[in-house]
C-alpha cells in the first residue's frame, strides 16, 4: 500500500524542554499545527511511521559514524536525555523489525546503509513523537542521517536515499508514513542560540514544497553553514523527504520563529500523488 | 532445546491429529532457535538468521570505482589491497574445508576483471559453494571496481586447511 503520508517538522529540544518560556501565542500556533499533523497521520491509517532524523551524538559517535543508519529493532527507548531537561518522560516505543529488514534490504540496492538493532531516541525523534504519537503506540522505524560529524553525505545522496526509500515502500503491502525532522537555519548549543534566518528558511521551504530538485541540491555546505548555522546541515532530512515524494508539492502548515526554541518552528505536509 | 528429527514413513492419516503453531516471537521461540542450532551450516538451503543480507555485489564494485576516482583526484600515491577469503568455513566445525575449483573460477573472473561475471554471483550460491565467509568476496570485488578494465596475475593460490582458506596473493596490473 506504500507511502500514505509524508511531511516535515522541527524537533528542537526547547519545544518541550523550555515550553513555558516561549511566547504563548507563537508556541500554541506551532503546537496546534503539530496536532493537525497528528490528525493527518492518524487519518492516513499508517502501520508504521518512518522518522528521518538527524541525531546528535546519542547513539553514534565518530568512532563509527554511519552516513545513514536505519533502525532494525523490535522496540526502542527514549528520550536518552534527562527527562526533566527535555520535558518528555521515558517510554518504550514499538518498532517493526521485519519491515525494517525488508526496507533496508531493498534500499541497499541503491544506497549503502548501516543498520542498528539497538537505538535510544534523542530529542530529534522524541519531540516529534511526543506530538504525533503521544501514546507511543504506532510502530516507528528510525533513520539517522549524519548531519553532525563531517564529512557529511552530499545532498543528492540524501535525496536519492529518499527516492530509494519510496521505491522500497511502494513494494510493501504495509501503509507507511514518513516524516523528516530537523531545523532549517539554527545555531543551537552556541552563544547564538535563538538566531533564526527567516528569509533563508522561507526560501528553502519554497524550494522544498515545490519539490524543486535542482534548487534543493544546489545548496552548498559553505553557504548553508553561513546562512543556516552549523545545524543547518539538517536540511538533509527534509531533502530526503523531498526525494521520497519526488514530483509532489506540499503545504506549509506552520512556520513561526521561536527564539527560545532556537529554531523557526515548522510543520509542512507533502501531497502524495 | 533439541527436537526429535528421526524420519518417519507411512500414510498421512496414520499420523493422527497434528497441529501447527507459530513459535517465532512467542514463548516457543526456543524451539525455533534449537532447530536453527541443529541445522545451521549443515544442509540448510540458504543463509539463515535475522540480518539483512549484505550489500549487493554491485555496490561493492561501485565502492571500488568511487574509491578509484577519489584516489585519482589526489596528489598522494595510494596503494590498495582487498583482503578476505574466497571459499571458507572458518569458526565452524567445517573449518579447513576449501572449494578449490570454485575459488579458482572466482580468481579467473577477478583477474580478467569480468564485471558481469563477478556481479552475477548470487548470495545463495556463494553461501553453498563458498561458505558463510565466502561473502568476503566483496572485498576482492571492490578491488576489481577500483581497477576496472585492468587484468591481474595470480602469484599464489594454495589451500592450507589449518589456515582455513585457500591462501591467495594476486596483483592487478594498473593501466
Amino acid at each position: 500500500m506504500a507511502l500514505v503520508f509524508a511531511g516535515v517538522c522541527s524537533h528542537a529540544p526547547g519545544i518541550t524542554g523550555r515550553a513555558e518560556r516561549a511566547d504563548p501565542q507563537a508556541r500554541d500556533a506551532f503546537y496546534a499545527a503539530m496536532g493537525r499533523m497528528r490528525d493527518a497521520i492518524e487519518a492516513s491509517r499508517p502501520d508504521v511511521l518512518v522518522v528521518i532524523a538527524a541525531e546528535h551524538f546519542a547513539n553514534f559517535f565518530m568512532n563509527n559514524m554511519p552516513a545513514i543508519c536505519v533502525g532494525m529493532a523490535e522496540h526502542y527507548e527514549g528520550p536518552i536525555e534527562d527527562e526533566k531537561w527535555l520535558g518528555i518522560a521515558r517510554h518504550r516505543i514499538p518498532g517493526n523489525k521485519s519491515l525494517s529488514r525488508e526496507l533496508i534490504q531493498e534500499v541497499m540496492n541503491d544506497i549503502d546503509l548501516a543498520y542498528a538493532e539497538e537505538w535510544k531516541f534523542d530529542h530529534g525523534i522524541m519531540v516529534p513523537l511526543h506530538f504525533l504519537t503521544p501514546r507511543y503506540d504506532l510502530p516507528v522505524i528510525p533513520v539517522n542521517v549524519n548531519c553532525q560529524g563531517p564529512p557529511l553525505i552530499p545532498l543528492k545522496r540524501a535525496y536519492e536515499f529518499g527516492r530509494a526509500l519510496r521505491r522500497a515502500c511502494e513494494a510493501r503491502p504495509e501503509r507507511i508514513a514518513v516524516i523528516g525532522t530537523g531545523g532549517i537555519s539554527h545555531w543551537p548549543a552556541t552563544p547564538d542560540s535563538g538566531r533564526i534566518n527567516e528569509v533563508w528558511d522561507r526560501e528553502f521551504l519554497e524550494n522544498l514544497l515545490h519539490n524543486r530538485r535542482e534548487a534543493l541540491l544546489a545548496y552548498r555546505d559553505e553557504d548553508v553553514w553561513r546562512e543556516g548555522g552549523q545545524e543547518g546541515f539538517e536540511i538533509r532530512t527534509f531533502i530526503a523527504v523531498a526525494g521520497a515524494t519526488e514530483g509532489c508539492a506540499g503545504e506549509l502548515w506552520c512556520y513561526v520563529p521561536i527564539p527560545i526554541f532556537a529554531v523557526g518552528c515548522t510543520v509542512a505536509v507533502m501531497r502524495l500523488s | 532445546m533439541s527436537s526429535e528429527c528421526t524420519p518417519i514413513s507411512g500414510k498421512l492419516r496414520e499420523l493422527g491429529t497434528w497441529s501447527s503453531q507459530q513459535v517465532r516471537r512467542t514463548g516457543g521461540e526456543r524451539c525455533f532457535n534449537g532447530l536453527l542450532e541443529q541445522h545451521h551450516y549443515l544442509d540448510y538451503s540458504q543463509p539463515v538468521g535475522e540480518q539483512p543480507k549484505f550489500i549487493p555485489l554491485k555496490r561493492a564494485y561501485e565502492f571500488g570505482r568511487a574509491l578509484r576516482r577519489a584516489c585519482e583526484a589526489r596528489p598522494e600515491r595510494i596503494a590498495v589491497i582487498g583482503t578476505g577469503g574466497i571459499s571458507h568455513w572458518p569458526a565452524t566445525p567445517d573449518s579447513g574445508r576449501i572449494n578449490e575449483v570454485w575459488d579458482r573460477e572466482f580468481l579467473e573472473n577477478l583477474l580478467h576483471n569480468r564485471r558481469e561475471a563477478l556481479l552475477a554471483y548470487r548470495d545463495e550460491d556463494v553461501w553453498r559453494e563458498g561458505g558463510q565467509e565466502g561473502f568476503e568476496i566483496r572485498t576482492f570485488i571492490a578491488v576489481a571496481g577500483a581497477t576496472e578494465g585492468c587484468a591481474g596475475e595470480l602469484w599464489c593460490y594454495v589451500p592450507i586447511p589449518i589456515f582455513a582458506v585457500g591462501c591467495t596473493v594476486a596483483v592487478m596490473r594498473l593501466s
Binding site: R18, H56, F57, A58, F61, D82, Q148, P188, T190, Q230 | -
Partner: protein, 101 residues
Amino acid sequence: MSLYYTQKLLYQINRDPATRRRLEEDFEGLLAEYELTQKERAALRKPDIGLLYVMGVNGQILMHYAALRGYEWNAYLEAMREGERSYGPVRTGLYTRADSR
C-alpha cells in the same frame, strides 16, 4: 586526538548511566581512562564550559554536560559567551564563527 577523547568521554557520560555514576564516585579514575591533556582534564573537572566550547567540543555534546553539572539554560549560554571573551573564538570544528574562519 585529545579533543576527540574529550568529546568521547562526554558522549559516554551523556548516554550511559554507569559512566555518570563513575563521574560522581570516581571522577579521577574515569578521567584517567581517556587520553586527555592536563588542560582538558581541568576543564572537565571544574567544569569550564566556556573553555570546552572554545576548544571545539560539539555543542550537542556539551549542552547535556552543562545541564548535568547544574547549568540552567541561560547560565549555559552565558558560560559559552564568557568562554569566548576569556579564551577567544572557537578553535576548531563546526562551531567556529563565520568571521573567524
